[in-house]
């Protein structure tokens, strides 16, 4: 692990996990982290960038997450931009998520079994005028839990 300094300016410093480096444990940083190697464990940082050669497995709390590499575990973020792959049993919670559309035959992100909780809870905007009298207007949830949304006709 190294601290790289983009010139002499302090604000440009970032923690770099270089390719071929593997880190297990807890890493908490006040500067951005760039992962070209592998991290397993708990991670807290304002900004995390994972390159195509990088992998982060574990529990991550981050402001901005940009990944072109491999993600697995639990990710809490403000903004997420994804390409690369997301492994099984991964949960991503974010205010915003961006996955760009790639051209035919090319996959921007390979998803395993993944849970995405992004933005506000989707609610049935028309439920009020369509629901049965007296029925509670619950927010729907994945897997059918509470998913009625008051929409029964």
């Amino acid at each position: 692990m190294t601290n790289s300094y983009g010139g002499n300016a302090g604000p440009n410093k970032q923690t770099l996990i270089e390719e071929g480096t593997s880190l297990k444990g807890t890493l908490s940083s006040t500067c951005p982290i760039m992962v070209r190697g592998r991290i397993e464990g708990e991670l807290e940082t304002p900004s995390l960038a994972v390159s195509a050669s990088g992998a982060v497995h574990g529990k991550v709390k981050v402001g901005e997450l940009r990944s072109e590499g491999e993600l697995a575990g639990e990710f809490d973020a403000d903004t997420v931009s994804l390409s690369g792959s997301v492994k099984d049993n991964t949960v991503i919670r974010a205010k915003t998520l961006e996955v760009k559309l790639q051209s035919e035959g090319k996959m921007q992100v390979m998803f395993g079994e993944v849970e995405l909780n992004v933005g506000d809870m989707p609610g049935d905007k028309d439920a009020g005028r369509n629901k049965k009298k007296g029925k509670k207007d619950d927010d729907p949830a994945p897997g059918g839990e509470g998913g009625e949304g008051g929409a029964a006709g």
């Binding site: 996955v99 028309d126 994945p142 897997g143």
Partner: protein, 408 residues
């Protein structure tokens, strides 16, 4: 006649003295080490640099006409605006060299290594670049008229706006290269590999593309008129607005082509329709469109949409079962709400409105699922057997479980 001897040149270079603007034409400097020397604006016409070490040497604006640079090491050399007309650079190593605006007309670059070299606006008309390594090179706006690039490796290179008219590109490798707005009229490229290359708006009129690998090319708005493509592979090519009508596409191999304006794969033609599309007759093939307007409510319905049809829903659907055939485009408009519905099949789904499931998974096996910034999905998505392609715009709301395809 040279003003300095070979020994004097080597000695001055060693001492770090500039050799700029000297008259050194016709000198034999073969096998010397002149790395880092300054030959800017120097007259080096006909100089023999065979096997010389010229790493990082400055030849900016130098006259190197008819110079012999075979097997020379010119890595990271500065040859910007140098005149290399008729020079012999065969087997030279020009990795990372700057040849922007250099004149290389008729130059011999056979087997030269030009990996990541800068050749923007370079004049390479009639140059010999057979088996040259040009991977990652910048050749934007370069002139390559009648150049020979047989077997050359141009993987990932930038040839945007380059002129390759009547060039010989046989078995050259243009994989993932950028040839947008390039001129390729009457180019001979039998057996060339263009897989994944951008040929956006390029002109390939009367080009020979027989046996080419054109898989996944971006040929939107390109001119393929009067091209010969027998034995070429065109599967996955983006061909929206391409001029293919007068091309000879007999014997072309194409399982499907992408006809979407944005080249996103959301519209494609396959099977027999490909030939009709290439012949410019596809407009005669009707595309079924279904529209469900705002304010309508549809309950407990089963709907099945045929291959290639376009479906747009601005209504409210409740407890409906929707089956999409392969290539069907389903758009849930901003006003559309699908509540407690299931969507299955290998279609392309774009959600600007809402999809709220009850039974899990609510979406089964789509080829493509796009959720726009206004879109919301609460539910599980079971991916297609060959994985589903996802796109999510910032601002969308998701409570989504992504599941792998289940064995049927």
């Amino acid at each position: 006649m040279a003003e300095l001897t070979r020994e004097q040149v080597v000695a001055r270079a060693k001492q770090g003295e500039s050799l700029a603007r000297e008259e050194l034409n016709g000198l034999d400097l073969s096998g010397t080490d002149l790395s880092g020397a300054d030959f800017s604006r120097t007259d080096l016409e006909g100089v023999n640099f065979e096997g010389a070490r010229l790493d990082g040497t400055n030849f900016k604006n130098a006259n190197l006409r008819e110079a012999f640079l075979s097997s020379a090491v010119l890595t990271n050399a500065n040859l910007e605006k140098a005149d290399l007309e008729g020079a012999n650079l065969s087997k030279a190593n020009l990795t990372g060299a700057n040849l922007n605006r250099a004149t290389l007309e008729g130059a011999k670059l056979t087997d030269a290594i030009l990996t990541s070299a800068l050749l923007t606006n370079a004049q390479l008309d009639s140059a010999e670049l057979g088996k040259a390594m040009l991977d990652g090179a910048s050749l934007a706006h370069a002139e390559l008229v009648e150049a020979y690039l047989g077997g050359a490796n141009l993987t990932g290179s930038d040839l945007s706006n380059a002129d390759l008219s009547s060039a010989n590109l046989e078995e050259a490798n243009f994989r993932q290269a950028n040839l947008s707005d390039a001129e390729l009229a009457e180019a001979a490229a039998p057996g060339a590999n263009f897989e994944g290359a951008s040929l956006l708006r390029s002109n390939l009129r009367s080009a020979n593309l027989e046996g080419c690998n054109l898989r996944d090319i971006d040929g939107r708005h390109a001119n393929f008129s009067d091209t010969r493509t027998a034995g070429a592979t065109l599967t996955g090519a983006k061909l929206f607005s391409a001029q293919t009508k007068t091309g000879r596409f007999d014997g072309v191999i194409a399982e499907w082509v992408d006809t979407s304006p944005e080249g996103t794969g959301t519209k494609r033609v396959s099977g027999d329709e490909v030939a009709a599309f290439l012949a410019g007759k596809l407009s005669e093939v009707p595309t079924a469109t279904r529209y469900f307007g705002k304010g309508d409510v549809l309950r407990d319905a089963s709907l099945e949409f045929g291959a290639g049809s376009d479906v747009e829903i601005d209504s409210r659907f409740e407890k409906c079962k929707i089956v999409l055939s392969e290539g069907t485009n389903l758009v849930i408009g901003e006003d559309g709400v699908l509540s407690e519905c299931t969507i299955s099949g290998l279609g392309n789904i774009t959600i600007h409105g809402q999809f709220l499931e009850r039974d899990s998974p609510g979406i089964i096996g789509p080829r493509l699922l796009v959720v726009s910034e206004q879109g919301a999905v609460a539910g599980a998505v079971e991916q297609a057997a060959e994985s589903t392609q996802f796109a999510f715009a910032p601002g969308c709301s998701l409570r989504m479980k992504i599941l792998r395809a289940r064995a049927k």
